[in-house]
Amino acid sequence: MEKQPIIEMKGIVKVYPDGTKALKGVDLTVYQGEILGLLGENGAGKTTLMKILFGMLHPTSGRILIRGKEVQFRSPSDAITHGIGMVHQHFTLVEVFDALHNIILGMEGHGLFSRIDVKKAREKLQKLMNDLNFQVPLDVPVEDLPVGVQQRIEILKMLFRDIDVLILDEPTAVLTPIEVEELFRVLRHLKEEGKTIIFISHKLNEVIELTDRVTVIRKGEVIGTVETKTATPQLLARMMVGRDVVLRIEKPPKEAGEPILKVENLSVKGDRGEKAVKSLSFEVRAGEIFGIAGVEGNGQTELIEAITGLRKPENGRVYLNNVDITGKGPRELYGLGMAHIPEDRTHMGLILEMTVTENALLGLQWKRDFQRWSGVINWRRARGHAKSLIEEFDISAPGTEAPVKSLSGGNQQKLIVAREVSKAPVLIVAAQPTRGVDVASTEYIRNYLVKLRNEGKAVLLVSADLDEVVQLSDRMGIIYEGEFMGVVKPEEVSTEEIGMMMGGIRYEEIRK
């Protein structure tokens, strides 16, 4: 059977208002009934390209053809009408609605003022779920459902609209290995039903396992497309990164010293009162990077917030240099030698509307160096401080008095790292330190964390990027639902074993 292209994207260029060239003339062909992998690093332009295909963004130039006919999408609903659906990395569900109302929204049937026929909708959905061979609860508010189920609701929402092409943006990032298997089963089933799937990922193994063809994107350009059966991880990695090796970190062996951070039986509640961290104990020693790996949402955020003084723990104790810091606020902790690179750069680490100087001072404002007299800020010194951070960390910024939102993501993150290190800490808590950061800055930040470790500081690293944790850590704990499934040395376990622990199987059981 001759393969028919269902989607052709030709010469797609996207320039953002700030001048960033996200896509530099991309051509992409998708054939009917295939699973196409779209592979690339963070910031390569995969998501931008697919948002254009889904009508969320408008290309600066270029053409899109569906079944040979040129189309112009003004909005996602245009794309849906043409049979294209997308499931985003961050779900677009109305949290307080149940699955049924989320799915039928906009397609309720009948007039706007007539009563919604819930019974009929339920029957229709039940039939769809039976056909697909997967189920979701229809009556529970989606905010009360696990992410894996929410994702299935998103997929159902698209299929309910009779789409032919389903785009999934990094769908496995939030899933456990078991949930990933389930997702892959559903996707293969959809392919058998004749649907076309575009699978965006930066994970080589998943792409190789699932797809028929792979198109690799790097820095806004297509590097090439290969048949998956002929591809090897090495080949794809080279295409993706443009070099032979993935980031390699020089890390000399080092004997860890005294424990700096001690966490004892720490229990923390989440925002909705659930037990997010359950009686966790560990320590981080001087000259050691202790990594915490795990699927996001397994208590990492609450754990970090409890350690850094942003959340009151329910139970247990935390010690920094043998001082009990349980329940102490950030201001005190900074005084005791803690530094914190927060996971949410734009909402917590920085105040985007404020200047570089003001952001460089955040958390340091009480230091005597920056006070003219008690309570009055010495802005001249603060500016000097900002200037020295910019120079030392090679941050590209228009100036110390420019608003920090005018900096690129990578430079914003470098500013945070620079500021936190300038606190002369004994412990650095680094959460997702390289998320959404360009390759060069990522390398810089990772090397810097190793440098701090070599200087004898204690580093607590929390990251959803498994490679990052494995490469950087001297020891690592794998967290699942607020508990460690195991605390291991990265070189002593296989990736499969880590994956099993991330899915909730204890290390002892694996090694049995």
Binding site: L310, G329, P330, R331, Y334, H340, P342, D344, H347, M348, G349, L350, I351, L352, E353, M354, E358, L361, L362, G363, Q365, W366, Q371, G375, V376, I377, W379, E401
Partner: protein
Amino acid sequence: MKKSGSEILESLNIKALIESLIAIFIGFLIGAIVLGAFGYDPLSAYYWLFQGALGSTYGIASTLRYATPIMLTALTFALGTRTGIFNIGAEGSFYFGAIAAVIFTNIWANMWFGLAMGMLLGALWALPAAALKVYRGVHEVISTIMLNWIGWFFVLWLIVGPYANPNDPNKTIRIPIEARLPNIGYGLSIAIIIAVIAAALTYFLLWHTTLGFSMRASGMNPKAARYGGMSPKKAVMWSFILGGLLSGLGGAMKIMGEGPTYAISQGGANIYGFGFDGIGVSLVGRNHPLGIILAALFFGMLRAGTALMQAEAQVPLEIIKVIQGIIVITVAIPGLYDLIKKVARRGAA
């Protein structure tokens, strides 16, 4: 401190100030249409308005006198917005500042004591809204409006009840002569100087102190402020307290500095509405102390001109409140400057 002049301007935002000027123009324009619709002559009304405000030394003194209370209540609102809250409670604190001046100067006839007690009661009246916001999450717009009404009836009761003037029972007892603010001519007291100093201190607080830093940080991003070791709750508390203090000062000076009666008049007429007007002043002044000084002078000018406008053009003085409302609505249009440029370009093409 030699660079401080440019620093103040930097924090002000010139484009926003131009937008305020456009808004003022639109306010006058629509005001003229309204006047015309009700059969008044807008040109003559505006002529006498400006004549009354700026045409004589007395007019200029009136402008300054009217600018004083709204400058202070505007600072209250600005402290709020900079901390991320809409503090509409200046009105209530103003009442309490005024009544405190009447009560306490009659206990000890000392100007500084009167001012201090005005500030204290103004701040105290702001406390419930602060506490409700911080501890109960009650939206400050609702709580401050309710407190304004409660305060209003309470002060009305004090005016006709315990502090009524036995010789003129519709007014309160007077401020003793020894406690009145010194007069600097044409009915103008030193209140205006104190108000400008208060604006300067507010600027210094917001942009040069750690407390101001944490107030502004909390206003823009409370999560980041907490991360930076600040306490957004404390910032909100201080914002309410200092805001109440400023309006309390305004209320006290209104009674202690303005003759001839140096008392709260019938039905509280001479203490009503300054808190609400201050909101407009603050918005037009872009919630910045320097902008507020300018905007207060502008609105003070409008108010000062109404006497002559009423007498010569027979136009009700409330028209300036109409103009003020339109100006504030216009200021609320985001990107007004760019919008007008776009429309102008389209018109030219």
